[in-house]
């Protein structure tokens, strides 16, 4: 159907651009949102990493400051008390007492120049113990219970051979003559990651009498780091110069248990946590970043990981007195922020899709609604094309559709008018043709009728001629007289017909007819005849009948009456009687001045024609008298007979 296709393609062409523009706008906005989100995430990640790293630096710095002050206090107290550094027992008591005052310190110890050690501390379960190497010299390290005042009690267990001079803290303290931190290590007493701060002790020998140290299990720092939240999936961690993990957020342990059941210090690049591991690996691969952080402070980095996606990170060195040179690393996968951002993007895409679908639907609906009148018009146009004159709808609208409808309506009317004219023309032509045919048929009929009529009249006339002949024969006394009368009667009949022919057989005036019959008998004086009467029109039948009657009267008068002598007169008078009883024509023939009339022996043809024929033929009353002074004939005829036939 061309109609439907036309409408829907118009619809599509109206709606599709809107939908396309909406789609492009949506995609564009989504793209901008996505790009903006990425940019914001980048900036925010950097800012967040920076703040976390800085925060760690401050906090850990404070935590590392406390042991330094504690150690200084211990050294000063020992010096002030003048505690002998040679006898391990009072020294143990002294250290034991000091440990009571320092809840943050787990172990206090002193190694003498010989390499022996005395140490006091708390086990993980809170038990106070005293460690002592045999003879306060390098030897087997034994663990004793301690009394509440620091007295050595029963032996708890004996450990391995111990020589403090082999320990790094001892060496560092002796070498630098400064309080020095060791690398974090797994504790020998308990398998806990700890760290030691060692300071040279000055005794009788002013320079170096041994090393006083404290052990920390970094509990406070671990708790602090563990409690840090770096987004949802981000991590912040501390590593030492060799890359070993010291503490981390997110419950990432700095130690692991090896195949032999031994606690092992964990390298950050071996960490189970993927963020810690991949960022450590990234820094391993990019030592320049680490180096730059040591010289220029905070450095930002980022890398792409197959599992995590983009990861933003920051690195800042942590340095503290006592040779601490660690690194604080924070790292955050962009997905942490981008997740909600992506969700927003997906949401906006979904909304865009909804908007497009809705705009398509609304557009199709609205355009379809707008085009519905067009379809009605198209239907009307189709109908008009098919010859059906549907009423064109929508002609009352004032918009373009209304204008179109009016145009269509006008066109339809013009076509109808044109068609009507063409039809009328054809009908008129057909009618003319039919009329022409009918006329021709009529003419033929008329001609036939005329021929029949002619035949009828000829035959009739011949019959009349015969009748005249037989009637004349019966009254003529000689052949000459017969011929004379016969010819005169034929002539009279002929003249009557002449009168009728002049008027197309419509009749003649009474005066003309009488004048014609009397004319042969005129004497030139003009006073022989007197005709009196207004002009009366006679029908054709009356013309013939009365013509014959007046012929007979005139002939008789010429033979025997008033017209047979000079001085004789004939008066013909007629009147119209229009009485209500019946209109009648009254005609009177009156001869005067002729020879005396003698009554005829027998009535001739003329008399019979007048008396019988006329009376019968025109339903009149006729009176023919022969008084001596002149023939008198009075005819009283009904007008309908005179006019009608």
């Amino acid at each position: 159907m061309a109609r439907t296709r036309g409408a829907s393609s118009l619809r599509s062409s109206l709606v599709a651009p809107i939908a396309a523009i909406t789609l492009l706008l949506s995609l564009g906005l989504t793209g901008i949102g996505y790009w903006t989100g990425n940019a914001i995430v980048h900036v925010m990640s950097d800012r967040m990493m920076e703040q976390i790293a800085e925060s760690i630096r401050v906090h850990v710095g404070q935590m590392m400051d406390a042991p330094s002050r504690t150690l200084r206090r211990v050294v000063n107290t020992l010096a002030r008390h003048g505690t002998s550094l040679d006898d391990p027992h009072p020294l143990a008591k002294e250290l034991y007492a000091m440990l009571d005052d320092e809840p943050n310190i787990d172990w206090l110890y002193f190694s003498n120049e010989a390499g022996g050690i005395v140490s006091t501390g708390r086990l993980g379960n809170g038990t106070r113990v005293i460690l002592l190497s045999d003879d306060f010299r390098p030897g087997v390290l034994r663990e004793y219970d301690a009394s509440s005042d620091g007295e050595r009690k029963e032996l708890r267990k004996s450990g391995n051979y111990f020589d403090a001079r082999q320990k790094s803290w001892y060496k560092l303290a002796k070498e630098t003559r400064e309080p020095t931190w060791t690398e974090p290590y797994i504790g020998s007493v308990e398998p806990i990651l700890g760290i030691s701060l060692a300071a040279p002790a000055r005794g009788k020998t002013p320079d170096f009498a041994g090393v006083i140290g404290i052990d920390l299990i970094l509990k406070e720092m671990s708790d602090y780091m563990r409690g840090l939240r770096v987004g949802n999936t981000g991590r912040a961690f501390l590593i030492d110069a060799s890359g070993q993990l010291i503490a981390s957020s997110g419950g990432v342990m700095p130690t692991t248990v090896d195949a032999h059941g031994q606690e092992q210090h964990l390298h950050a690049r071996d960490a189970g946590d993927w963020v810690v591991r991949t960022s450590a690996l990234h820094l391993d691969r990019h030592p320049e970043t680490v180096e730059r952080s040591r010289t220029s402070g905070m450095q930002f980095f980022s890398y792409d990981d197959a599992g995590l996606g983009r990861v933003f990170g920051a690195i800042i060195p942590f340095q503290a007195s006592g040779g601490i040179s660690w690194l604080i690393v924070s790292a955050l996968p962009a997905s942490d922020f981008l997740g909600p951002g992506r969700n927003a993007t997906y949401l906006s895409l979904a909304v865009a899709a909804l908007v497009i679908v809705a705009s398509l639907a609304v557009g199709f609906w609205a355009v379809g609604r707008a085009l519905r009148p067009m379809q009605a018009l198209i239907k009307a146009a189709h109908a008009i094309g098919g010859g059906q004159w549907l009423e064109v709808p929508e002609t009352n609208r004032r918009d373009e559709i209304g204008a179109l409808a009016r145009t269509l309506s006008d066109t339809s009317r013009s076509i109808q008018e044109l068609l009507r004219r063409v039809r009328d023309d054809a009908a008129a032509r057909e009618q003319a043709l039919v009329l022409d045919l009918i006329e021709r048929k009529e003419a033929e009929k008329r001609q036939q009728r005329l021929l029949n009529e002619l035949n009828h009249r000829v035959k009739n006339t011949l019959a009349i001629v015969r009748a005249i002949a037989t009637q004349t024969y019966g009254t003529a006394e000689t052949p000459e007289a017969f011929l004379d009368s016969f010819e005169a009667r034929l002539l009279a009949l002929s003249q009557a017909h002449d009168l009728l022919t002049q008027s197309a057989w419509q009749g003649a005036s009474l005066r003309d007819m009488v004048s014609q019959e009397l004319a042969p008998h005129a004497d030139g004086t003009g006073s022989r005849f007197v005709l009196n009467g207004s002009d009366v029109h006679l029908g054709p039948h009356a013309v013939v009948t009365l013509g014959m009657v007046f012929h007979e009267l005139a002939t008789n008068a010429a033979k025997y009456g008033a017209l047979s002598v000079p001085g004789g007169h004939v008066e013909v008078a007629w009147t119209l009687d229009t009485a209500a009883a019946g209109r009648r024509l009254r005609v009177e023939w009156w001869e005067t001045g002729g020879p005396p009339v003698t009554p005829r022996r027998r009535r001739g043809f003329g008399s019979r024609l007048i008396e019988r024929g006329l009376a019968r033929d025109l339903s009149g009353e006729v009176r023919l008298d022969f008084p001596p002074e002149g023939v008198r004939c009075v005819m009283d005829l009904p007008l309908e007979e005179v006019f009608g036939r």
Binding site: K459, N460, I464, A467, T470, Q471, M548
Partner: protein, 131 residues
């Protein structure tokens, strides 16, 4: 005149005839002739005058001119046929001028001689019903 027919030989004596003829001269002549043969003749010169006579007049036969000044004589024909009164047409048209239902009727063509009329009347086997 020239054709004088014997009154007795014709056998029409006393026969009552209706002559319907609009031409006054023809009617007069025919009347004279028929009266001369011993017939009783009634003449009607128009259809209007012929109708009551055809219905009521005591007649034995009729002589009918077909064309009566433009009118046709058929209403009279129908009345006579209903009364079983025999008749003869007198017309210049001949048989072609008659109605289809009157084809076969006796016709005397104009102009006629008296003996043609007499022959036609005799062939109608008219009888004086008054006797």
């Amino acid at each position: 005149m020239m054709e004088r027919l014997d009154q007795d030989a014709c056998g029409l004596k006393g026969v009552r005839l209706l002559v319907v003829e609009d031409e006054i001269l023809l009617a007069l002549a025919l009347e004279d002739d028929l009266v001369g043969l011993g017939c009783d003749v009634i003449v009607a010169s128009s259809l209007r005058k012929a109708m009551p006579l055809a219905r009521e007049a005591p007649i034995d036969g009729a002589i009918l001119d077909v064309n009566l000044a433009g009118e046709e004589v058929y209403p009279v024909v129908d009345i006579l046929a209903a009364r079983s009164i025999p008749f003869v047409f007198v017309t210049g048209y001949g048989a072609a001028g008659l109605r289809a239902c009157d084809a076969g009727r006796l016709i005397v063509k104009k102009p006629y001689r008296l003996k043609h009329v007499v022959e036609a009347l005799r062939s109608l086997k008219l009888m004086n019903r008054a006797e």
